[in-house]
């Protein structure tokens, strides 16, 4: 690893110190289909980055490009300043990957698989592997052939976590896990973050991303449509104010930046973008029995981006 660092040009070495992932105008076409259009992505070291998008948005394509499994149609991708296509091997020594659909060897047992993958990675933490096997309640003597999808997913996850790689690339890693294992997974990711590992979590499970990620990118039809910390994304979106009245809900008349919706016979739901003052002032004249204000959930932000998704 250090050799590679020494070989890098000086311009890249600073970037390498800060950024774990960087893509520049990264695009991929499969024949006529544009899977990814001019993606510019920067993930800093130590960051947990949530990569959101519905099925077919281009999440797996991004990961395949980052791993050098597919070749960019144009643009470039780099891990730790190392080009993903030209220099995959050096990058892979510092990366561990969990595929959405775990493709492992049916005739090997779980233990043999972990052993094999650890050796190919150039070693892993044996004590940590044992601990993970215990935490994820994995039966090491079972052949992969006889395992359910969730259990195969656990093997793949344990193999990746046990390498203690600097960067974890996870493609919908919990799609087959039960709620208990989902909890174990979240703990492991938090521990990885505490150790300073970078995590790139591709997912469409919003609660998971909300719980784990520092920053979120939202992908739609091959394009990054929004990006930022949850805080930033919320600021850009509407705030939700839910109000219950003593009598029938009054009509407040038009207010700038406020979208009203009935939420029952005595309740209203207001989506406020911008200042909240005018709404409060208007409400003051009415018999309000309860008022709650909250920031939009990630789900609401996400759905907001997909409301008009048919247009592209």
């Amino acid at each position: 690893m250090t050799q590679h660092r020494a070989e890098d040009r000086s311009g890249e070495s600073r970037e390498e110190q800060v950024l774990a992932i960087r893509t520049q105008a990264l695009s991929k076409r499969y024949g006529e289909v544009v899977a990814l259009a001019s993606l510019d992505l920067q993930v800093a070291r130590g960051e947990v980055y949530g990569y959101l998008g519905p099925n077919g948005a281009g999440k797996t394509t991004t990961l395949r490009l980052l791993l050098g499994l597919h070749r960019p149609s144009s643009g470039s991708a780099a891990l730790f300043g190392l080009d993903c296509w030209r220099d995959p091997l050096a990058a892979h020594r510092r990366v561990a990957y969990v595929a959405g659909e775990p493709a492992l060897w049916p005739s090997l047992t779980a233990e043999e698989t972990l052993d094999f993958l650890a050796r190919l990675h150039g070693g892993s933490d044996a004590a940590y592997t044992r601990e993970l096997v215990r935490r994820f309640q994995l039966d090491g003597s079972r052949r992969l052939r006889a395992m359910s999808k969730g259990n195969r997913q656990k093997v793949s996850l344990i193999a990746a976590l046990a390498t203690r790689a600097e960067l974890l690339l996870l493609d919908e890693p919990t799609s087959g896990l039960d709620p208990l294992m989902e909890v174990a997974f979240r703990e492991c990711i938090k521990e990885a973050q505490d150790r300073g590992q970078t995590v790139f979590l591709s997912s469409h499970i919003l609660s998971e991303v909300e719980a784990l990620c520092d920053r979120v990118g939202i992908l739609r039809a091959g394009r990054l449509v929004d990006e930022g910390s949850l805080q930033e994304l919320r600021h850009l979106s509407a705030q939700i104010v839910e109000v219950t009245f003593a009598g029938a809900s009054p009509a407040l008349g038009p207010l700038p930046g406020v979208h009203a919706q009935s939420a029952g016979p005595h309740a209203m739901r207001y989506e406020v973008s911008g200042a909240i003052g005018p709404l409060i002032a208007a409400l003051a004249a009415h018999p309000v029995t309860a008022l709650s204000s909250r920031e939009p959930s990630l789900e609401e932000i996400f759905l907001h981006h997909y409301d008009g998704s048919k247009e592209s």
Binding site: L89, P102, R119, A146
Partner: protein, 530 residues
């Protein structure tokens, strides 16, 4: 058949159509070429009589084409040549088609989906059988059309084609039963392949060893001979394949009704203590995965070579006139009237077998990619070049072992009968298989790099076409350069002749070039799923 049943049958048919069409072309062309070639090579009755005297009794020829019943008529000749080869192809087709329709879907988990729907097990089984039956019907039509185009009579041609596909029917039954016994598709193919191989060996022994003719009744390949198209047809014999096929398919159906989906009657253990051997690199792990299949190949090649070695001692030129010996020499099959000449001739079939082995190895590599495991490997610090290079080295090394084993065991067989052939010459005969086999391996690798999804089909087709072209190309009077295109034309008949070093070097050179191109192209392409 219900609507759902018909939909499923159509689905199974679509899965199989590429193979059906490929085999269909083989049947069509082969059935057409034989009558045309016979007329071309033996225009007069005198020619035919001389041919019949020389070839009819020759052990080497009978080994592959079976026992001839009438070599003086075009029909009789075709029945011998066409049926002899195409029944073997039909056997392979029956087995592959039934394992594909009855087990591959199940291993992929799609059978569960089907059975969770409005379709019962019997209906699903019947739909799969309908698709297999349609494939067999296509082969029947293809052989019939080829024979008709070659100028043979309609009724007799139809009967001859029926004799050929009767083997496919029985072998489909064998495959169906293997699918119920085996825990996985792969084991089903192994079991079925071993059974079909045994039936072939039975026919070989029946047709070549003195006093063993009765064994012909123990194998569907022998029944096809005993149906005797164009030579005093005996249609009653058809009862045997029909009965055997129905029994096998019925038995398989009974088991299919009771068995847990995704398992077989033979259970594999689902848990095992870890064995850390052969896990330190992708290539070693590939060896670990392939070793049972390698062992099957080694045992088959060794056993077959041993049998051929044993038979070789019974070959002799006693009673064959000088003139006919010259005739045989002119046909380009060497001096097959001596044990050494005979072994030289049959070793051409080991070239074929080991080339097909190379194709199978490349198919296994492609499956690794198609099923996503290559992605798992390449996301680790493993390079594409090391992976593909390792697979090629593994296949090449296995081909070397198989070739030398063929030579060794043929020598053991011959020596056991008191033949005095030098071991070194027989090992050389084995090594003589390698240049062509490695060439086909490298070409298969190139196909894999360029067109991964079609690679398996291309590789197998290339080998089979090259082999058939060598058999029939010169018979048809094709121009020399066209005949010379097939690598099989450039293989010396070792041990009767010397190893053709020049040709071997050229083939190995092309192989090295193709392999280098394959590696270069593979480095630059996307890793593709199914």
């Amino acid at each position: 058949m219900s609507l759902a049943g018909r939909a499923l049958a159509r689905r199974a048919w679509r899965d199989a159509r590429v193979r059906v069409v490929a085999f269909g072309y083989l049947f069509l062309i082969y059935a057409y070429v034989q009558p045309v070639g016979y007329r071309h090579a033996y225009p007069s009755l005198a020619d035919r009589a001389a041919f019949a005297r020389s070839f009819g009794g020759n052990t080497a020829i009978r080994l592959f084409y079976g026992q001839p019943h009438d070599l003086l008529s075009i029909g009789g000749y075709c029945a011998w040549r066409v049926s002899g080869t195409l029944t073997i192809a039909a056997a392979a087709f029956g087995l592959l088609a039934s394992v594909r329709a009855l087990r591959t879907e199940e291993d992929a988990g799609r059978a569960e989906l089907v059975l969770a729907g409005a379709l019962g097990r019997t209906a699903a089984y019947r739909s799969s059988l309908a698709a297999i039956g349609a494939g067999i019907a296509v082969l029947w039509v293809a052989e019939l059309a080829g024979s008709l185009a070659g100028g043979l009579a309609l009724g007799d041609s139809a009967y001859m084609a029926l004799a050929t596909v009767s083997v496919a029917f029985v072998c489909a039954g064998i495959g169906a039963l293997a699918c119920q016994l085996a825990p996985t598709r792969r084991v089903a193919l192994d079991i079925g392949g071993a059974a079909v191989g045994l039936l072939f060996v039975l026919r070989v022994v029946a047709d070549t060893a003195g006093g063993a003719g009765w064994l012909r009744w123990a194998t569907p390949l022998g029944w096809a001979e005993e149906l005797r198209p164009f030579a005093g047809a005996r249609p009653l014999v058809l009862v045997l394949p029909v009965l055997a096929g129905v029994l096998l398919l019925g038995l398989a159906w009974r088991i299919a009704l009771r068995r847990d989906i995704g398992t077989g009657l033979l259970r594999e253990r689902d848990s095992a203590p870890a064995r850390p051997g052969l896990l330190s690199s992708p290539t070693r792990q590939a060896l670990r995965g392939e070793r049972s299949s390698l062992a099957v190949w080694l045992v088959s090649v060794g056993a077959f070579a041993f049998i051929l070695g044993t038979i070789s001692s019974s070959v002799s030129a006693v009673g064959v006139s000088k003139k006919i010996q010259q005739e045989i020499a002119r046909l380009g099959v060497g001096s097959i009237l001596t044990p050494v000449g005979y072994l030289s001739f049959v070793f051409l079939f080991f070239v074929l077998a080991i080339s097909l082995f190379a194709c199978a190895q490349l198919s296994a590599a492609r499956r690794e990619e198609a099923e996503g495991r290559l992605e798992t490997l390449l996301a680790l610090p493993a390079t594409r070049g090391a992976w593909l290079g390792g697979r090629l080295l593994l296949a090449g090394a296995a081909a070397v072992i198989l070739s030398l084993a063929a030579g060794l065991f043929a020598w053991v067989g011959a020596a056991s009968q008191g033949q005095s052939i030098a071991l070194s010459r027989m090992l050389e005969a084995g090594a003589n298989c390698l240049p062509a086999a490695l060439l086909f391996l490298a070409l298969a690798a190139l196909a894999f790099a360029l067109l991964p999804r079609a690679a398996s089909g291309i590789a197998y087709t290339l080998v089979v076409l090259a082999f058939l072209w060598q058999l029939v190309g010169s018979l048809l009077g094709a121009p020399r350069w066209l005949v010379d295109l097939t690598p099989f034309q450039h293989i010396g008949l070792v041990p009767a002749q010397a190893l053709r070093t020049g040709s071997a070097v050229v083939m190995l050179g092309i192989a090295a070039l193709a392999a280098a191109c394959a590696l270069a192209v593979f480095r630059r392409r996307d890793i593709l799923g199914q």
